[in-house]
Symmetry: C2
Subunit: 154 residues, 2 copies
């Protein structure tokens, strides 16, 4: 079922979802970040139909998150590599992972641990402001189209 597009909305979240909001798409990106580059690897990881995977990979290539490169001639075969735009999507996946770790983990803790190589500690990201370097709290964001928790909600 092809749903109507929300990409025309004057909203970066809607435009992003227009590309990556199909359910499988963030999981495909997750697998590419894990080092999977070939159709069969991703298909095996996700247990997804070939037609669906082919369609989603095509969307990601067309949108510019992945690049399709030949890795073999005769017959020519392709693999998928992250572009700068795709690599920049890691912050979305890491934020989604952290939220899931925090709220959806089972008794034995989060299923996958990530290590921040620079310091050797487990990745526990904090969204900080590039100007004041303080954490960005949902109650401290304001805008004409506000994306922050209403103080009355607290």
């Amino acid at each position: 079922m092809k749903r109507s597009s929300v990409g025309h909305m004057q909203c970066s979240i809607a435009r992003s979802l227009d590309i990556v909001g199909e359910w499988w798409t963030p999981l495909i990106m997750r697998d590419v970040f894990r080092g999977m580059r070939r159709f069969e690897e991703i298909q095996g990881s996700l247990g997804i139909g070939r037609a669906v995977l082919s369609d989603r990979l095509g969307t990601l290539v067309e949108a510019g998150l992945l690049e399709r490169r030949p890795y073999q001639d005769n017959p020519v075969r392709y693999e998928y590599r992250l572009t700068d735009m795709g690599r920049d999507f890691s912050s979305v996946l890491i934020s989604l992972k952290q939220w899931g770790d925090r709220w959806l983990a089972e008794e034995d803790g989060p299923p996958v641990t990530l290590i921040h190589e620079r310091c050797g500690h487990e990745v526990e990201p904090i969204l900080t402001c590039s100007h004041c370097h303080e954490p960005i709290l949902p109650t401290e964001i304001r805008s004409p189209g506000r994306l922050g928790a209403d103080p009355d909600d607290l």
Copy 2:
């Protein structure tokens, strides 16, 4: 069309998408963060069918991101409020917004500007490590199930 669940996967991203991966759901959360609490407000904002919105709100309440509270008696009417779990989802929306601002904005720039009230500057979040306080770069993350760009990709 109800797709098969990915919530059973041993992956916090998959579990998160099982709740919030339906296309409209992050936009519903966006609207609640903007201060919309009532069914009609959200419906008017998104132009979404009543049945779909009712279903998605039900999922968000059941999963614990929103709370349904009466705001009027006789007849009783309800509004939707963020829970702690829902409020914590702001980091995912902000990351998604920033990615869209960076890669999908049109010539006149990002459609919505957010202000970090603490310092008065525009919100430009950086994902930093809670241990070493340095930015978390996609190439500096390692794990058995790696979620970081392969250095060979760079």
